[in-house]
Symmetry: C2
Subunit: 356 residues, 2 copies
């Protein structure tokens, strides 16, 4: 039962990062912040795979919104397959990996460091190759993660990224005063506990999907929640073998909307925040087409639009992805069980994937 | 029958871009090349949606491999929803859009130009908002595209990107002499004509999928061919309503491999080139698992591994995505017909999608 217990540990993991973990992150930004201020570094490159790649997508939005930095997701095969190193000496280069062991991710960080770029490893193993290759390493300190599917290390990666952004913010000149992030951060462990309490609702969604023999699902989010859409879809594939297809709400309208039909349900992440109006418009359009909507939101009126839904606790939109993924993890686990699969042991894949 | 005829026009569209279109692209790089040389511009940001986003992925690999530039795909909602402009004044900012009309893409280009960044629009409508917003515009000159699904404008976007990279290469100091791209480019129109001649094989793959009632498909490519995997999957969704799920071969191993099983076929793009060894390894692993493989390759021994397959003409790997998408377009059209759908009129979507 390691998956269930690791999902349950997430409030404690977050509290640990917010407490003792935070000072280490702030120390790193004392060195990197001045490089952003004088613009000797003017963009960010992130190398990651799988769930960690979804943490990178969160960083893309958060570093854009809070630090005005363009963020590129690295294409590690440029180095590992085509043998060409992009010029990274004006980039902050971040490698994200639970195990810290995938050679292609280590390769990007090693190349960037050779070129003189500031490099940060985000990993749950501070003794890993990735941590050794980087100039600085942030230890997720999530404790051993035994289940094949990443859960507590994913939310720890998101929170470490949020803390990194907040700490860097103090070094980067802004147009006006930034809103105080502390009340938002302080609310996180309780919000994670509340998200765990959605388990009966997640189980009801799992029953809805398994009763209808629905093995295709579209997952849609926008802005910050695009990362959540991607990560929920991956959990559903790994654990429940559902062909779950994630989109940003905008990209979904550029073609894949043609898939929408009764019997091909769509899970929509629709929390409060700047993206809510846009997502509500999509919810309306899907309703006209007769698609079964599964709505995940802190807004009662949005949840009520769905055939089934999950009520999120209220959290600031920039931190919501740390919370909104939790019912997705619970859904994937319960759907696996409902479909007669063992959520502890997805077939073909191991805990550590080494790609070049 | 506009879709079929537009697919068939692709050799002529490419010949036009290689001829009269090329001088205009070279003129633009006379202004932008020096900014790359002195590194007042040191990264690229590309804004695009749908098929054009897949052209942006091609650019990510090509500009990385030939120009050593980090390339970020823009997150337009940062500007349109969160109201924050990333600092783009040290970026070359490119907007790609067939129609040139989507407000979120125009918004990124307008913001970048206000900040003083060099901006380029790639569009099939030189009178569009996007062309007007950008400092420079490249006219794809593909002629009117009437079918909802983009085909000739997609390959024109790829070729324009290739010509842009080649022209910029002359301005960027390299470690050694670059291999002459001209013979590779000169072979393109004939290779596109040869790709059109794969229609009977594409039709056989469509029969294989429709006979088995297979409405789920995984599409895998690596490196340059990741863009093709994404674009084939989108065509299959738009036209044939197949739940087609695209991956890079490396990301596929980080979780989604759990989906692999008999009855859930996998189309693998496996052309010659630097990525071939890696893709062959995946083909072997899929064979052990008993998955039906559909192989698209110029290598006879790779095609023979598949239950069905498509033989590509031989083309240099950096230009192969312009060619390898063509059988994918033909497959999507024939699969739509085999499934009783009208490939000229996908439901719910129009030719121009306006997202904010």
């Amino acid at each position: 039962m390691s998956l269930a217990s690791e999902i349950g540990e997430q409030p404690a993991v977050a509290a640990r990062l917010l407490g003792p973990g935070r000072a280490a992150i702030e120390a790193i930004t004392e060195r990197i912040g001045p490089l952003l201020r004088d613009r000797s570094v003017d963009n960010v490159v992130i190398a990651a795979r799988g769930s960690s790649d979804h943490a990178a997508i969160y960083a893309q939005y958060l570093f854009g919104a809070r630090l005005r930095l363009p963020v590129a997701l690295a294409t590690p095969s440029l180095i590992s397959i085509y043998g060409v190193e992009p010029r990274l000496d004006r980039s902050l280069v971040v490698g994200i990996s639970q195990s810290g062991r995938s050679p292609d991710i280590v390769g990007v960080i090693a190349a960037a460091r050779r070129q003189g770029a500031p490099t940060i490893a985000l990993t749950n193993d501070p003794t890993s190759d990735l941590a050794a290759a980087a100039g600085d390493a942030i230890d997720l300190a999530a404790g051993p993660e035994v289940a094949v599917a990443a859960t507590k290390t994913y939310t720890a990666e998101l929170l470490a990224i949020a803390l990194l952004a907040i700490a860097l913010e103090r070094h980067v000149p802004l147009d006006g005063p930034a809103p105080d992030p502390e009340p938002d951060l302080a609310s996180l462990p309780a919000a994670l506990a509340a998200a765990l309490a959605t388990e009966p609702e997640a189980e009801a969604v799992a029953r809805f999907l398994s009763a209808g023999q629905r093995d295709r699902l579209i997952v849609v989010g926008r802005g910050y929640e695009y990362a959540t859409a991607r990560e929920i879809a991956l959990k559903l594939k790994e654990l429940a073998r559902v062909a779950a297809d994630p989109y940003s709400a905008a990209d979904f309208l550029h073609g894949p909307l043609a898939l929408a039909e009764p019997g091909h349900p769509i899970l929509v992440l629709a929390p409060s925040g700047a993206a809510a109006a846009d997502v509500d418009e999509l919810l309306g359009r899907l309703g006209e087409v007769g698609v079964e909507r599964i709505v995940v939101s802190d807004r009662e009126e949005a949840v009520r639009l769905g055939a089934v839904g999950i009520r999120l606790p209220a959290v600031a939109d920039w931190l919501m992805p740390i919370v909104s993924i939790v019912p997705g993890q619970l859904l994937a686990r319960h759907l696996a069980i409902a479909r007669g699969l063992d959520p502890e042991a997805p077939r073909w894949i191991g805990k550590v994937t080494l790609t070049r």
